[in-house]
Symmetry: C2
Subunit: 160 residues, 2 copies
DNA sequence: GTCCAAGTACTCGGATATCGCCTGTCCGAGTCGTCATGG
DNA sequence: CCATGACGACTCGGACAGGCGATATCCGAGTACTTGGAC
């Protein structure tokens, strides 16, 4: 069970977009160059964020990606769901239905003790991620390393 | 990010083994027949449980699998780790190292705010699963449907 | 009747294919800036 | 000097390959039971 690496890229890119906000849209190529990522593939991930309403995109020169809303209104869970999809990690196949106690018309996702346990754990995971906004992440980074925003903006300017 | 279906099979099989405990070892073929699962593939998953010390196995006629310890000493997390492996779902690639603020000698798994957030969430997930023993699951099932143990044992006898 | 030994059926365990998803790349449609040209 | 139109460069977006892990299967090694025969 492994999470796609696009999640990490997307989260970092969102913070970068916030720091570069005043300078207008940022292309996928520049965002990729910052961390030495494959540009076309990062583009693909950012497209998912656009579909999820987290970013907006514009084509042509001076085009690129831009935050669709304030960082305070974006949770880590939003980004994870945008990249990984909304489905749960544990998918109950309801194999109990085939067992000796199986009955039709019973929703084993709700009644199977195993399924309930897995769902509860996953809910705890989702709750942690949903409780954390990107604004909090940004503030945490800036508190630990106040020079970060400037450093990233300078690097973006170099890539101009 | 999807969990292998072997996890569900393994958990149900452990409960079945507990109910059939007095009747001796149970072969992978019988355990698979209960839920209409591919026998050879279920066997592969059970092998992982053996390697993890959750089950013991014996070959030959009257052979099969058996619980290595009491259900109260097996957590759901144990089974998940045995099937899925011990590595975390989120793997920090430390892409910050390539950025303008990157430094050698820094462990970004510990210092990156994003990595810390993901790890915290995953820890909450693991904690939920580790807090739940298979004995609790068994008791929950038996409370909701007291006929289950007998039904499974009868089915196992039929498959003799 | 009892003991023994060979044969047989059954089981796990690992080696071997197949499939789908994650990863990665490429090209086309659209857009904006630029520059030459004419008034 | 200014307006205008065509050109060109740049960007996203989706269509198109490659690789790796999950899924599924098969066969060999080992074991315990069975069965036949000898004593």
């Amino acid at each position: 069970m492994q999470m796609g690496e696009g999640v990490e890229w997307a989260l970092h890119s969102c913070l970068n977009l916030a720091w570069a906000e005043a300078d207008g849209a940022v292309s996928a190529a520049k965002l990729a160059a910052i961390f030495d990522l494959p540009p076309a593939y990062l583009n693909k991930q950012l497209q998912a964020l656009v579909r999820a309403g987290i970013l907006t995109s514009s084509s042509g020169p001076r085009g690129g990606f831009r935050l669709a809303r304030d960082l305070a209104d974006i949770t880590v869970m939003d980004v994870v769901a945008a990249i990984e999809g909304p489905q749960e990690a544990f998918r109950c196949q309801e194999i109990l239905r085939n067992g000796p106690t199986g009955r039709d018309g019973v929703d084993y996702r709700e009644h199977c003790a195993i399924s309930k346990t897995m769902r509860r754990a996953e809910l705890a995971w989702r709750r942690e991620l949903a409780a954390r906004t990107l604004a909090e992440l940004r503030d945490e980074v800036e508190a630990a390393s106040p020079g970060s925003p400037g450093a990233y903006r300078r690097r973006f300017a170099e890539l101009k």
